[in-house]
Subunit: 207 residues, 4 copies
Amino acid sequence: MTELEAETGGSRVRELDRIAAFTDGVIAIAITLLVLAIDVPNVKLEPGDSLDDKLLDLGPDLFAYALSFAVIGRYWLLHHRFFATLERFDSMLITLNLLFLGWIVLIPFTSDLLGEFPGHAASVIAYAVVLTAVGVVNWMTVRHAIRHGLTGPSPVEPFHGDLVGLSFPAIFALSIPVALLSPRAASLTWLLVFFVHPIMRRRRRED
Amino acid sequence: MTELEAETGGSRVRELDRIAAFTDGVIAIAITLLVLAIDVPNVKLEPGDSLDDKLLDLGPDLFAYALSFAVIGRYWLLHHRFFATLERFDSMLITLNLLFLGWIVLIPFTSDLLGEFPGHAASVIAYAVVLTAVGVVNWMTVRHAIRHGLTGPSPVEPFHGDLVGLSFPAIFALSIPVALLSPRAASLTWLLVFFVHPIMRRRRRED
Amino acid sequence: MTELEAETGGSRVRELDRIAAFTDGVIAIAITLLVLAIDVPNVKLEPGDSLDDKLLDLGPDLFAYALSFAVIGRYWLLHHRFFATLERFDSMLITLNLLFLGWIVLIPFTSDLLGEFPGHAASVIAYAVVLTAVGVVNWMTVRHAIRHGLTGPSPVEPFHGDLVGLSFPAIFALSIPVALLSPRAASLTWLLVFFVHPIMRRRRRED
Amino acid sequence: MTELEAETGGSRVRELDRIAAFTDGVIAIAITLLVLAIDVPNVKLEPGDSLDDKLLDLGPDLFAYALSFAVIGRYWLLHHRFFATLERFDSMLITLNLLFLGWIVLIPFTSDLLGEFPGHAASVIAYAVVLTAVGVVNWMTVRHAIRHGLTGPSPVEPFHGDLVGLSFPAIFALSIPVALLSPRAASLTWLLVFFVHPIMRRRRRED
């Protein structure tokens, strides 16, 4: 199919737009479904009873929500900048993109799991595995596009197609062994993702 | 990144469209998920038994639905008019926009909470906090865009980038102390939002 | 705002497209959420036990699903043809459109209710009320657009802006008193909607 | 309506785009709702208790998720390539497309059922029936478009409008009698879908 794609120009742009729109759709739904993981307390209360304690129990749910929202939002940003540099696509790119979405869609589940069982190694590891996979597949997609010349001669940054781009999934991968010792410590290491991005951006600017 | 954005013209419009589409997607999903907060009565009934009482219990659910639908719908309108005036964007605008969405997505949760525990200060306050945050972040986004010249020399109204624009979140913020005294009174003050908008529009027309 | 809209041409088309896209998004989500109303049987089975009986109980769920899917799908079609004839919009049209969506989004709830309590007057009436409202608001939207000259001099059919256009909600409205006598008979009258559309189309062709 | 469609050119493309976007929206939501079928274990655990066993029980859920994601993703790809070849549409195409979506939206339900009751003939058959219907309706849509000249003189492959195109639903149809003997064997035959596609593509290249 690849030669065919190289030939036809105009309709390809429309198809690329449709792939981007589908991806955006899936990401938008996944990021919004995160809210379903925040559980409304399942209790019967008389008007006089206090709901405060029940809402304080939502701490882990809200932590999981904020982290997952930030992570999915960040991948949407990366994806959207990456697609802006694409000029063509091939079957492999679409397959990798679907695989990427397949892992993204799992985040609401692992986020729910994490909010429900915050102190357990199994839920922390499940979350870390999914986020590692999301990061690695995203990196493979970018790498594939660069290697096969699918991106145009754009002045835009190379969006983590290099080793630096693996720093994000590396944080989640490295948290897996940590979770075996201390699940809570492992989830705290994830907060590093909020610092990695600005550092990487600064580095690239200096190049 | 900002200089780069100023340079490239055409592809920026396409990117702005994609950001707008993503935002629309998240808002559309959030507004539709509101329906999941209206609980189908979880009872076993024989064909002869009456379902009427159970449906009458849905009053608070429907109040929360109607209010939340109107509020999200109103922010979608504002956002969509605001984006129509945008000519450029920077990283801060995207970050603020994601933050805005992060609060919007919480509305189905607080709406569910409100329908479930209508007479409790905690659920009323949770709802008011989220709506205050939505309004403030929206206001900050508009203000940022105007201050950094991201909007074009458009004849369109300035969409609440000024103090008047804070009147909407102010209603929700002021209802928080009220909720400590009377949760029901606090939720009634929210109905003011239906009057603020027409007043503001009339004022602007007179300018 | 109306004069302003009349002046600016190009960006208005883009805004109309965005309103159409948002509407499509909400309808697409509502139509897909219908599936959540089909309940996976909540039973513990040994591999030898039969699941068949439990699945046969899903009859009312599947009836509600098929009917609601057809009805929402039909309104999407109408809406999409109607919007193709629009050349301009005003605040009232957007408000009516949001109101229309507000009723559409309730369909997954009433559909769930109907599947859960198929033989009860209350659930049948709730379903009929929502579908009547959807039809009436849709009719009001079309009527408003035609009366205020928002549609172009298009050769396309007037999409039920006349009395004929009320036949669809009329079926649901008339089923409400029927439901008080026999809920099941009332739900059967709804099947008339599958015959009304082809008849109306034929009539219009003959004109 | 068909003659009318043949006459008007430009707005038809916009309408085709809107139908494609709506279809994409429904498919994107259906594929993302699959995650809701993966159940977070509903247990109360002390921080010391192990969650591992509960997560291992998710095997069938994850099998159903991966299979359904791959199948929906594959139909999205087919649909999107098919629509790229369309130049016109008629009422029948839209009706068939809605019917196709009606079956697609059922997949999250049957996927949930399959993950919940993996060894039962009834759930395996329900899954197979839905997937057979999806495939057959998709095939009918393509066949209708080709027969009525709705596709352009495009160099793109005919997307399974011929008998070969039925091989995919045939796999699911043939698994139905197998499920009566062994539900698990039937679900294993579904893995053939991962081999059919590459084979078909190779065959077509050789032609």
